[in-house]
Amino acid sequence: MKSKYKDTLSIGALEEGFVLDHIKAGMAMTIYRDLKLKSLDCTVAIIKNARSEKMGRKDIIKVECPIDSLPLDVLGVLGFIDHNITVNVIKDSEIVDKLKLKLPSRITNIIQCRNPRCITSIEQGLDHVFYLADEEKELYRCMYCDTRYTGKK
């Protein structure tokens, strides 16, 4: 498979890593934070407001790293943020896989429970965990108090 990214942008093509494409314009930094890309010892390129036939404007993130250094469960969070994001896996400058995103069954420390009566509001060091309560409605609930997550990413 030939890489479509090789010559399209001024940022160099990847030897190995991930290209997160079709990110809604303006969401790249949120994803950078949620995937904790800052903590990776590798090159990350964030392209904002790239032209897109399909979306008008979009963001793209390129992560140059060994492909096993970003586990699938980490990338699974993208399914919660926006399952329309395309994840291309690059090896030897070629796209070797396209990950199909789906809603993760659990999300840990990405969103916070807003219920003031929830134990997460006072207990220190507690993970904020949400579980997928209804896949069809894309509904997540807090594991501790069952409050539904209503915020928009």
Binding site: N115, R117, I119, S121, E123, G125, L126, Y144, C145
Partner: protein, 309 residues
Amino acid sequence: MAPRHLMSPLDFTVEELDKLLDLGNDIEKHPEKYAHACEGKRLATLFYEPSTRTRLSFEAAMMNLGGKVLGFASQDSSSASKGESVSDTIRVVSCYADIVAMRHPKEGAPLVASMKSAVPVINAGDGGHQHPTQTLTDLLTIRSLKGHFDGLTVGFCGDLKFGRTVHSLIEALCRYSGIRFVLISPEELRVPSYVRDGLKAGGFPFQEVVALNEETMKDLDILYMTRAQRERFFNEEDYVRMKDFYILDREKMKIAPEGMLVLHPLPRVNEIAVEVDDDPRAVYFRQAQYGVYIRMALILTLLGISVDA
């Protein structure tokens, strides 16, 4: 082996629940058989907010089993007042007791405790979230006095919006076949949408009505009354308007079916007139007694103690 906990009434399968209720009934019939079952065992009651019935019924349950009880009855008399976390408290208490019953104003606190505890933890009420032992009490009362769940028509009356006991009991009863519901409440206090959606999705026949009268009571096997809880209302005016919306009195009982049992999680305020207490269909004080039996059964089950016939 990791200890088993009770966080929600749905933690038990229907088969497990049947066994638990059978055990509760056996305890009711042969209390002497169980009088020493928990000798040498300790129950810790960690009550971060005041409760009369629930705490005392847990303590009575453990004492009836020959066990001992320790704990605290309010946050002020615990290390929580010094800022200790639930996680730390439970790790310490696990060293002192064989089983823990926890009530906490914060929702999910007993779950956090169960994740860190070396001994079984029972959720004895967490804010407006879950109160599984009340639901188990209700189930034991209904099955003991009606003999079965299948095909019952159950009416709920009063504050169906904030009443967690109502939501939990509806969820628990939905696991049985042929159950029908009559939901009697003011417009403002109807069941939350997720409860209604669950009933629709499960295909359970139900009707939502405002009046408590002959027509709405005529098919009821059970009438579960609830009180309007002052703390749930944003202003005193709304509470005052709602608190006397339904009053079940002798006149209403006259037009109620002969076999309609009246349950109430207690405490009651005005919603059931005292004159109804003598009616044989008023079983809310027996319900409180069943609360002790089911907690005894629960303690035995979670501790893995079986008593030979």
